[in-house]
């Protein structure tokens, strides 16, 4: 087995889940996005997205801030520096293995 394939064993399990990968990839491509935008764009249900965001926040990959825009409540999500590093590492491992 090549070293590149062996590296797959050490892949980050939090990110290596389709829904969470979508969320992290999307947040990496923008400065910040709110819950509603993430839900609309990923197609996940409210409960599902909420659960995945909680896991990502627990892992320190996503920062969540509750605020308002006029009367409209916003739950703004951003990828943290740790989250960016983990995604970069994930990208390298997947690229190497494929």
């Amino acid at each position: 087995m090549s070293a590149k394939i062996q590296r797959l064993a050490g892949i980050d399990r939090v990110i290596h889940e389709p829904a969470r990968l979508m969320i992290v990839a999307l947040l990496a491509a923008v400065e910040e996005a709110d819950f509603q935008y993430l839900r609309q764009t990923t197609g996940l249900t409210q409960g599902n997205l909420s659960a995945h965001l909680s896991k990502l926040e627990e892992a320190g990959y996503v920062a969540i801030e509750k605020t308002f825009r006029g009367k409209y409540p916003l739950t703004i999500c951003r990828l943290t520096e740790r989250g960016k590093q983990v995604l970069d590492n994930y990208r390298k491992i997947i690229k190497g293995a494929l």
């Binding site: 389709p18 509603q36 764009t41 916003l74 994930y90």
Partner: protein, 214 residues
């Protein structure tokens, strides 16, 4: 794990993000409405230049509107769309702050446009005996515009729109109409289709129920 989700894990995260952002950008139809209005304005300006004699006030106004109004409309449309989304559609669409435009992507679009323009010039030169230059310009504009529309949208309705634009350009080239009339028909048709498509998408989007914010 479903087959689609396992495929997702084999994909580069940047491609996943690009696809999702593109889909999000076009889901309310506003970009198509802006493109449609720009094309329709272009068609009206072309018609004015055909219908009124050179040097008349409407002719001059059309020239100035084309030179100043169209670039201003194209430059301001993204800003207007952003403001509309931020003020009127934020409850439905949510909020997003995008990163500054990616220079690589802009460079790729400019490079594709240049390749198409150079290919059209070479084709016009090689085929100058079989078709007049105006025919090559119309065909080149239709094909080039169609390819750019498909690449920019990357969703089925943009592929269909791009195909219609390319086919219209080729048909106009064979019909041997003048350049002015050809552009008026091409821009008018594409503007109308784009506006209708954008309005249908916007109405469909507005009819979707809004779920309460988190």
């Amino acid at each position: 794990m479903t087959p689609s989700s396992s495929r997702l894990l084999e994909e580069n995260p940047d491609r996943i993000a690009g696809r999702l952002l593109q889909k999000a950008h076009n889901r309310d139809g506003l970009p198509e409405i802006a493109i449609g209005l720009t094309f329709l304005l272009l068609a009206v300006l072309m018609w004015t230049q055909i219908a009124f004699r050179r040097g008349s006030l409407p002719f001059k106004a059309a020239i100035w509107a084309g030179a100043l109004g169209i670039p201003a409309l194209m430059l301001s449309s993204q800003w207007i769309i952003k403001k509309l989304r931020g003020h009127l559609l934020v409850e439905k669409e949510g909020y997003v702050k995008l990163k500054p435009a990616n220079r690589n992507q802009t460079g790729i679009v400019v490079a594709i446009a240049l390749v198409i323009a150079v290919a059209a010039i070479i084709a016009a030169y090689l085929g100058r005996n079989s078709f007049p230059p105006t025919a090559w310009v119309l065909a080149g504009t239709g094909i080039g515009g169609g390819v750019l529309a498909a690449l920019a949208g990357r969703i089925p309705r943009f592929f269909i729109g791009g195909g219609i634009m390319a086919a219209t350009g080729i048909a106009l080239a064979f019909s041997r109409v003048s350049l002015g009339v050809g552009f008026m028909i091409l821009y008018g048709l594409m503007g109308f289709l784009s506006l209708v498509s954008g309005c249908v998408v916007l109405l469909h989007f507005l009819r979707q129920p809004t779920e309460p914010a988190q």
